[in-house]
């Protein structure tokens, strides 16, 4: 596909804006980079063919201002708009506004974004596509008796959730029948008071789970998967370390979850790059669908490293109307990849943010570093702390771990406190080397390990 002469507006900042710049240039596109007043010096602005200021430093007055971003892209004559991740990437009204202004939105339709953004609708779509969800009640439960029946079928511990809740609110954990008899009436009256709706439903509680997610690409009718990623190492529900593939999965389990993800992507006529997130319970060899993210994800490079497919280029091609170039048989994986997120935070001081002036940098020889940094860059304090992603590849997981240890020893970023010392400790951790970490591992680990500043 020849995109020469066409232009792409990047409505994002930081490392992902750099990444999109590279992909767009490789396709022959001319790049227009949007930026706030605080980001006039950022690397993506320097790389772009043109730059357009969006407004003041505060994100809600620049990167998050739908009308402003759409008007800026339109005025600049952009053919398409790439939202990156975060900011407006999963905002259905933004996608609709971009298309209403006569431009291409690089992502799925506004309708898909809002459908997947609603957890109940997404769960229903998953069930309809025979994607495994966590066992629970069929919709709402009427009272204690029905609750006990569901409990007998799925077992304890289980979670009683408010139908109108969300974001962790209105959840109770029951360990046995007595708990359930006591908690259901309590939860009902509290949910009625808090949400104006006493409706409850039940889900089995999944403990000691792995976070597994499947990368898909679709063109609106056909979809393929690009295998899975394992992202169990998290702090405060933020991923810090990601791998591909998930070494804990058998080939049969991998096929199961990847095929289910393609079914779901095709059932919702998915267009672009997307990710289905699951919890995986190794003891039962079961997956439970959590949500679908309708954007490119931070950790997409580990998938690129094992498949050799440039996800950002593919999503741009699809957005410009090219049918999916890949059949499932065209996608194979080779070796193992690990990514760590380098944040401007001090792990020896409770991850205190550290915006600062970037000093001398030394890059590792055999690693990919997707970054927004350059020597002399003053990191603005107004946005998140991700500076870059250090990505390695090896013939197998052990080789990738060794490559990561080497890359972490070689990389130097002076002038800043970063999370690199955390990873230098984690890469030598026996449980992580043995691939034992579940989603609660890192928080527990941090309680008993001090990180030396370096």
């Amino acid at each position: 596909m020849d995109l020469t002469g066409k232009s792409l507006f990047i409505a994002n900042r930081g490392e992902i804006a750099v990444r999109i710049n590279r992909a767009a240039k490789a396709l022959g596109l001319s790049v227009i980079q949007g930026h706030s007043e605080a980001d006039a010096d950022m690397l993506a602005v320097r790389m772009a063919d043109r730059a357009v200021e969006l407004g003041p430093p505060a994100a809600n007055k620049s990167y998050l201002d739908v009308a402003r971003v759409v008007a800026a892209a339109k005025e600049a004559g952009a053919d398409a708009v790439h939202p990156g991740y975060g900011f407006l990437a999963e905002n259905a009204s933004f996608a609709a506004a971009v298309e209403a202004a006569g431009m291409i939105f690089v992502g799925p339709t506004a309708d898909t974004i809002s459908r997947m953004g609603d957890k109940v609708a997404a769960r229903e779509a998953a069930i309809a596509a025979e994607v495994p969800t966590s066992p629970g009640s069929d919709g709402r439960i009427e009272g204690v008796d029905e609750g006990l029946k569901v409990a007998a079928a799925i077992g304890y511990p289980l979670m009683i959730k408010a139908a109108a809740g969300g974001g962790g609110r209105g959840i109770r954990v029951a360990e046995n029948d007595d708990d359930l008899r006591r908690l259901i009436p309590q939860a009902q009256s509290e949910a009625a008071a808090a949400f104006g709706d006493g409706g409850l439903y039940i889900e089995r509680m999944v403990r000691d789970a792995r976070h597994i997610e499947v990368q898909v690409l679709g063109d609106g009718s056909r979809a393929v998967h690009l295998f899975e990623r394992e992202c169990s190492l998290q702090r405060r529900r933020q991923k810090v370390w990601e791998e591909a593939p998930a070494a804990c999965l058998s080939d049969a389990a991998r096929t199961r979850v990847c095929d289910a993800s393609v079914r779901m992507a095709e059932a919702v006529n998915y267009r672009g790059a997307g990710t289905l997130e699951f919890l995986y319970e190794p003891e039962r060899d079961e997956f439970y669908f959590m949500e679908m993210n309708t954007r490119i994800q931070v950790e997409h490079p580990v998938t690129e490293m094992i498949t050799g497919i440039d996800l950002v280029q593919e999503m741009i091609r699809i957005a410009f109307g090219e049918p999916l170039r890949l059949a499932q048989d065209d996608v194979s994986m080779s070796g193992h990849s690990i990514e760590v997120r380098v944040n401007a935070e001090d792990p020896s001081n409770n991850f205190m943010p550290f915006p600062g002036l970037v000093g001398a940098m030394a890059m590792p020889a055999n690693a990919r570093f997707d970054t927004m940094l350059y020597e002399g860059y003053a990191i603005p304090p107004f946005y998140d702390s991700l500076l870059g992603k250090l990505i390695v590849h090896g013939a197998n997981r052990e080789a990738a771990m060794n490559a990561l240890a080497t890359a972490l020893d070689e990389i130097r970023i002076e002038g800043l406190k970063t999370t690199l010392p955390l990873f230098r400790a984690l890469v030598r951790d026996a449980d992580i080397r043995a691939d034992k970490a579940t989603t609660s591992y890192l928080e527990t680990w941090l309680e008993s390990h001090a990180i030396d500043a370096a």
Binding site: P353, P381, Y383, S385
Partner: protein
């Protein structure tokens, strides 16, 4: 010279704990040692700014939601 309280961090200064709540300290009020006078948001985390000196007749130099550098004068007082 008027006493000053400076921002310990670069970021976005907030005079109130949440958008719908009143200011921590109103202009003209007195400030005691240990009073929270505002918040600075740096890289999506919030830090309380506490007064290390007391004073009267507070005059805020930084507006709510203003971008500030480390060392920026947030408030002057007598």
């Amino acid at each position: 010279m008027a006493k000053q309280i400076q921002s310990p961090l670069p970021g976005t200064f907030y005079r109130k704990p949440a958008p719908e709540e009143p200011n921590f300290i109103e202009d003209g009020a007195s400030i005691a040692v240990g009073d929270t006078i505002g918040l600075v948001e740096v890289m999506k985390t919030f830090h309380e700014v506490k007064a290390e000196t007391a004073g009267d007749n507070a005059r805020f130099q930084a507006e709510n939601e203003a971008p500030v550098m480390a060392g920026a004068v947030l408030v002057e007082m007598d």
